[in-house]
Symmetry: C2
Subunit: 140 residues, 2 copies
DNA sequence: AATTGTTGATACCACTCAGTATCAACTTTC
DNA sequence: GAAAGTTGATACTGAGTGGTATCAACAATT
């Protein structure tokens, strides 16, 4: 499930999304594939789910990429990872509202050194309803 | 501030947004102007702020209308109005994730009979950063 | 009662954006 | 070491979107 095993061309075939589009989603910060030391991308099964969800959101729900980025930027990462107050003071993810935490450079931070690919926050977006479920979970 | 006083043409002049566009935003569920018994719209100063915010989000931030609708649908209305558990069971706003509560028909509900124009949830969107601030307020 | 403004509906336009194509340099595979 | 695949960059395309124009029926203002 979480093992990086598909090259980009296999991922494209399996997901039905072109290589170019997969790279575009990545450039836009919607997905972070695993990268080998040679910079070659490898996709997990979960990644495939995620890109299919992204495509669905764009093509069926008609939300544009900037809109998706703004939606995922509302994930309350601070409440999920439970970072300390000091970290929050300078954290772009906590203080901004245009980029999700995994698009941000975390230095001198609660999240420094952590791999966003393995973070619950990053996984809160993957099936499409899940962000609201996460909010409900935290707010009831 | 919250007094409905501008007709649509005045509102258009003051906000720099055309009459047609103002009506479009309304059709899309992004704003609810006050309506006289004759169905004529009247805008408050706060409404003007809101439409300017909407336009900014579309033109500057490049988020499309569907994207905005999805963002505002993430406002945790249930936690703000503190509706009872029974209401939640059948509430489209609580259970769905594509429409904000003020676009929904509330019958036999905690919100039945309430005027969304006066609700804190509706006002959580108006300046553009405010949704995240609201989440922070609730989750810290 | 006449002028001006509003409503909602339909049809239309211009432009933006998601996705594609092409490219040379580089890796991987066999 | 040759073939197949990957990378990132740039340029392009076409569908879809935000916004406009026009319309007759109705309301408000004078």
């Amino acid at each position: 499930m979480d093992k990086p095993k598909y090259t980009i061309s296999t991922a494209a075939k399996l997901s039905g999304i072109s290589i170019h589009t997969l790279r575009m989603y990545e450039r836009e910060g919607l997905i972070i594939p695993y990268k080998k030391s040679s910079n070659q991308r490898l996709y997990t099964d979960r990644d495939l789910e995620r890109v299919k969800c992204i495509r669905h959101t764009i093509n069926e729900d008609k939300i544009n990429i900037e809109g998706i980025r703004r939606v995922v930027s509302l994930i309350p990462c601070w409440a999920i990872v439970k970072c300390n107050e000091n970290s929050r003071k300078t954290c772009e993810a906590f203080n901004g509202h245009t980029k999700p935490c995994w698009m941000i450079n975390h230095e001198n931070n609660f999240c420094t050194g952590k791999d966003c690919r393995e973070c619950e926050v990053y996984h809160s977006f993957g099936s499409c309803e899940s962000i609201k479920s996460k909010l409900k979970e935290l707010l009831t």
